[in-house]
């Protein structure tokens, strides 16, 4: 048994190979060799070599290709994961990001040797500002949540600069918000105050009015919100927060609905983050890397992190001399490789293409919502934007939960939607088809959903016990959390060094 089958357990890399094997050969040392103890004192040296795999290159390749076949990406099939914007990732973007002139630049090279890179960053910043309707941006944050944290730091620096840092200690967050919003606010030292949603799925303006005041630092809002609905009262919301002296933060997770249609800055937002790995097509990589640039209104520009990219005639340079800056939140300049891909995407699409993408994303979502409406309860009966939320509550009486429906979809070769989010919808299914899916794919998805609903009515156990066709079946998550097994513990006979003898790489919490 070589262990490369698609179903069942799959050997770990540590269970393959044989002592002495290796998968990469270095060129021979081309300088005279000194005794190592003459260069590195003994007490600094490792006593036991680390117990790494010992496999040949073909073994390693088969192992990781085998793992890849047990994985699912948007290149494999439909991936309607709400709030995650799983659009197609154009392959040309990978090709250009791999050009040595981008991929092999050291971040500390002299500026005159990275003019092309700085120009790309400078122009990407311009494009993002134009899309946001704001003045300046920074590309430093590595992810959306990182952008949120930075945006809130800028919010705080702004209030501090006006002598209100100590009084404005509250950040308002709707109850439908992504979990990162309250977590970022807390990480920035803010107290989180939750704002209720109204029956139409928007911010309850009356509730908001009662909560804003001299303690308010700002409001974090996703628009369209996590129900996929545009905040119709956005201008009133913005006025309330601004009149109270607070700022508006735009969580750009759902920006794919609004490119070229309306702009956060025009809505009244002061700080905006974008997810280049959602809206601007950079691949998600199994959970990252992402990139979470933020754009800000003119008054907030002095607080942007160092360095900014500036232009002087034909020359681009990094500006570190920004006395009011919040500082630095990441090493170097951000996830540059993601910037290259997003820049390539924007240049491919152009202004018209971006707007067409948003329009199609909204058409696809409304079309699919219409197709699925007979099968589920629609959370709020309105036209949606790029995504929508259904409730599977009607199947609870048959003993089938939304989780079961999600798992059954996997048997049909489709990634499940986001489930149990937003928290305000019972048994939620959050579906975001994106603009890159064809009508046939959406129709096929609707047919599969109809089939699953028939199964629920005729043979609910089939759905309750799903998935059946996947590499592994439903996993025991309680066991994983009760007895955490986070690292492979090699059998005692192997070569695990003394450094690991205590914990053996495994922890029981």
């Amino acid at each position: 048994m070589t262990g490369y089958q698609l179903k069942g357990s799959f050997p770990l890399i540590f269970e393959r190979g044989a002592p002495g094997r290796r998968g990469y050969r270095l060129p021979p040392l081309d300088v005279p060799e000194q005794p190592i103890e003459a260069l590195i004192p003994d007490r600094h040296q490792r006593t036991n070599p680390p117990a790494l795999p010992e496999v040949s290159e073909p073994e390693a390749v088969r192992h990781f290709v085998g793992l890849s076949r047990r994985n699912y990406g948007v290149d494999v099939g439909f991936y309607p994961l709400g709030s995650c914007t799983m659009k197609y990732n154009p392959k040309i973007n990978e090709e250009v990001a791999a050009l040595p002139g981008f991929a092999r630049l050291h971040p500390y090279q002299p500026e005159e040797t990275v003019q092309g890179a700085l120009e790309l960053m400078y122009n990407l910043e311009r494009y993002l500002c134009e899309i946001a309707g704001l003045s300046r941006a920074t590309l430093q944050p590595a992810a959306g949540a990182h952008g949120e944290l930075l945006g809130l730091m800028i919010m705080r620096a702004y209030h501090e600069s006006r002598g209100e840092g100590h009084t404005r200690r509250e950040v308002l967050v709707p109850d439908s918000a992504h979990g990162t919003n309250p977590a970022s606010a807390a990480m920035c030292g803010y107290r989180v105050v939750e704002v209720q949603s109204n029956a139409r799925g928007g911010v309850d303006v009356a509730a908001l009015r009662a909560l804003v005041g001299p303690k308010t630092a700002g409001l974090m809002l996703t628009n369209p919100n996590t129900l996929g609905l545009f905040e119709e009262d956005i201008l009133e919301i913005a006025r309330l927060v601004h009149d109270a002296g607070g700022l508006l933060y735009y969580d750009g997770a759902n920006a794919n609905a609004i490119l070229g249609i309306c702009r956060p800055g025009d809505m009244g937002f002061d700080i905006v983050h974008f997810n280049l790995h959602k809206t601007f097509s950079t691949p998600h990589g199994g959970g990252g890397p992402g990139s979470g640039p933020i754009a800000v209104r003119e008054e907030l520009v002095p607080f942007l992190p160092v360095p900014t990219v500036e232009r002087d005639g034909d020359r681009y340079y990094l500006d570190f001399d920004r006395p009011q800056s919040v500082g630095r939140i990441k090493g170097f300049y951000g996830n540059f490789g993601m910037m290259v891909r997003a820049y390539a995407y924007i240049r491919t699409m152009g202004a018209a293409g971006l707007k067409a993408a948003s329009e199609q994303a909204v058409i696809n979502a409304n079309y699919l919502m219409k197709r699925l409406a007979p099968l589920f309860d629609v959370a709020v009966d309105r036209y949606c934007k790029h995504e929508f939320v259904l409730s599977g509550r009607r199947y609870k009486r048959l003993g089938v939960r939304t989780l079961d429906i999600a798992k059954r979809l996997l048997d049909y070769g489709i990634h499940a939607p986001t489930v149990y989010f937003p928290l305000i919808v019972e048994e939620a299914l959050m579906i975001e088809p994106t603009e890159t899916e064809t009508k046939e794919t959406l129709d096929e998805f609707a047919r599969v959903m109809e089939q699953i609903v028939r199964e629920i009515e005729e043979d609910p156990d089939l759905v309750r016990n799903a998935p059946h066709e996947t590499p592994v079946r439903r996993l025991d998550e309680a066991r994983a959390a009760r007895q955490p097994d986070l690292c492979f513990c090699a059998p005692a006979s192997s070569t695990v060094g003394e450094v690991n003898a205590g914990g053996g790489g495994r922890t029981d919490g």
Binding site: A143, A145, G179, I234, F332, K439, R506
Partner: protein
Amino acid sequence: MTDADRRAMLNAIGVADVEELFADIPAEIRLRRPLNIPEGMAEAELRRHMAELAGRNADAGRYACFLGAGAYDHLIPAAVSQLVSRNEFYTSYTPYQAEITQGVLQATYEYQTLVAELTGMELANASMYDGATAMAEACLVACAHTGRDRVVVPRAAHPEYRQVSATYLRHQGLEIVEVPFRDGVTPVDEVRARVDGRTAAVVVQQPNFFGCLEDAEAMAEVAQEHGALLIAVITDPLSLGLLQPPGAYGAHMAVGEGQPWGSPLSFGGPYLGFFAAQGKLVRRIPGRIAGATVDRDGNRGYVLTLQTREQHIRRERATSNICTNQALNALAAAVYLTLLGKEGVREVAGQCVQKAHYLQRAMTALEGVSAAFPGPFFHEFVVRLSADPEEVTRRLLDYQILGGLPLGRFYPELADCLLVCVTEARTREEMDRFVTALGGLA
């Protein structure tokens, strides 16, 4: 999408045109003009344009790169990019549906095991953004765990790591206390003078920013005397092929930059923050963690676990706000470390040490070039120049050499110094060229 499809879809929705779907957006905020962004390009046009931009940069393929300082030009086996480019991996989202994302989950578990093994720690998470944010988050963990509000950080630690930590900590009312360096290393008595009952952690970067080896064991002892934690920071973990792992000198957390494990330089990102810790800290650590379990048929499988630490469940009380991480870079690390393996990692570390010392000896034999610090170093070292280092590095470009980092921008007192890095990727010919060129400039 064809016009016919679009028509059919709009009909099915029951609207006459797409504008109706946007009718709930207040008219005064609709953008009534095209975005001011250039017209779209076809693939072939884009390829030309991007090649032109890339061509205006001097890359480490054409120039011999002697820059390090947190970003390292190591050799990357061809199989790494081939494997991480497998579409099933790189176009996958976070593995929320474990049954169809066992590939990423198992690779993450393997990555965690590799990190724990190399650092000598009991566990590791699935990744952080980069080394600098990993250090900042480790400082936050230490403060939360001890209930104390100060972290002692050597000035000989990476300046950008210190800046990022300062930014993170300041917003939670926490402080950094800096320790000066002497002869390129952090004196233990200076550490001791700054550690007290308010100290949550002592940070040691090993080797430090100047490439010098710190007395990490003594710093661990100082921390322990006061009930503080020791955080080991490592900017090039390939050093762990030869150097003592943090677990062996008593570190409670070992964090750093995983870029050297198979990720390209890429002008500073995307990189890979690694985060390893003692088992007792497991419920405090930030970010995703993969764990092994079984499915209902008894097959071994993997899930994201201990998720109650995270933002999507604990919201404002999460250990961190991190969500998206650097999964693909972690995968690259797992592939890289698998290919290099037990022997390869040791050999890379050995070649780095040998070549760095070869170059250092040759450079310091030149007139106008001297070793800035006396102690042992790994693969980076500081030389003092009689000429201006900024000017010297500029002129080295004429010899196709990226000649190191002038230290004045971070350490005004070292304005006459240059930080030089040599990895296994540099050849003797390149080093000799560097020495010859420097001889004419210094």
